[in-house]
Amino acid sequence: MGRPRIGAQFGRQFRPDGHFDRSAAHKPILVLEGVVKVFRADAPVLRRVDLTIERGEFVFVTGPSGAGKSTLLKLVYRAETVDEGRILFCGRDIARLTDESVPFLRRNIGVVFQDFKLVPYWSVFENVAVALEVAGMPSRIIRSRVAMALERVGLAGRGDDLASVLSGGEQQRVAVARAIVNEPAIVLADEPTGNLDPVLALDILGLFEEVHESGTTVVFATHDRSLLEQAPQHRLIVIDDGRTIEARQGLRAVGGALDAQRQHRDADDAVSTARLPL
């Protein structure tokens, strides 16, 4: 019997009626059904995307710049809303959440960005603790959990440093610590290595691997092929021209999977012009 996971409480937290939905524990953590997102009418970013992510998976999302990787993640943490279709997070339709429920959803999703999104004049501790403070956690628990999170990302003892004095790699570690400190059900990473050199990028990828090994679902968006080659065993989702193409067995199997997917898509949509970036 370990510590209670904050993430385990999310069903009760973001359901407006306050009742815990036990069946959610057996459902895929994330399901996208016919998701369409349009910013410009003549060029939809996502065209009827169907996708299921199971609990505990590590999924790479890749594709060229502007393909819709970030949009896909934004739809999951409700920074954007779908135009058609639905997104089920632990069985609940995100699009139907009220505005009051959105913060509760976000407390159960850790997000890491390319530009770290740290507050430069806050200390490392404050930048991580904020994820627990917004949930009203007692300060004693906050102190111990932040210390553990910083230890996990290799920044033990650096809590008093200002975020602005850290290197890029260290700042991204703080961002990862903030994303995992409340033990969320899923961690979304949007090009988390985009601002880092190749060595640090591998370092951060290793950090996400460790997070994944502890049981957390990780969705890692990147256009960096060298990173995909470092972890070819993970499931790969390619977004191109607003559609997804999957390789469940990872990069090694991507060729065959993509061909199959392409044939299926061509039959479904003769005008599709999706190009593969790999």
Partner: protein, 288 residues
Amino acid sequence: MKVVSRALRGVREHVRTQLVSVATVALALFCLAAATLAAQNIGEVSRRWGGPVRMTVYLADGATAEQIEALRSALSALPEVGSARYVSPSESRAVVAGDDRVMASASAELFPATVELSLVAGATDGGRVESLASRVRRLPSVSDVETYRGITGQLQSFLASGRTATVVFGVIVLLCAIAVVSNTVRLSLHARMREVEVLRLVGASPQYVRSPFLAEGALLGGGGALVAISLLAFVFFAMRGRVDSALGDVLGVRPVFLSLPILVAFVLGGAGLGATGSALAVRRWLKV
């Protein structure tokens, strides 16, 4: 308490902007406090001089001492009259002549005998004074009655204009102070946009995000009000020693500083005003 500490953290991070804002708000509120102080003392002067507090009854020529005493007694018995004092022609001459030897050597018969009435509080409004004058005129031995309504009417009108100007000035200053706080909080919001973004990202409720900015506005307003009344108190007490006796002789009232309840209300009002300005900025510029 966490909201206040988060607000204070925001203030600390942008201390220069906040100091300029507090100084600006303090200046605006200083003007408002000075106007309030002036209004309070004008009110005191108004109460003292705003209505005709005296009346002069001119006696008919040839009134005997018995008739004069009977009239004085009758006037004293009127409910509107506080006191009635007989002023003989020689007393009138002494008052009018002063140091003027020529006037002092004139015959006392040239000066009228009068009864000076002082009116009780509540009997000094225009209608009651005219009614009293009309009744007094009908009494025997009375030649004429002077109510001084012309002079007090002008003073009343002057004081009313002063009060109106104070209210208009106060409203303008209030709007300016709200605008200053609102713009300061807007600057603070822009400077702390990353913080707001992070808070939204980690699941802070809209209220959690907004509350420190509202507290910051209240702190700015309340702080500005405190500085303003401290400055006003310093100026008031430094100047009072010099003008106190002169004003007392001229106006018959001595200047007084704002009372404690007004001071407390002023600080709380400043905080409320700051929170209002902040709420306007948050509503306009902070989308959560």
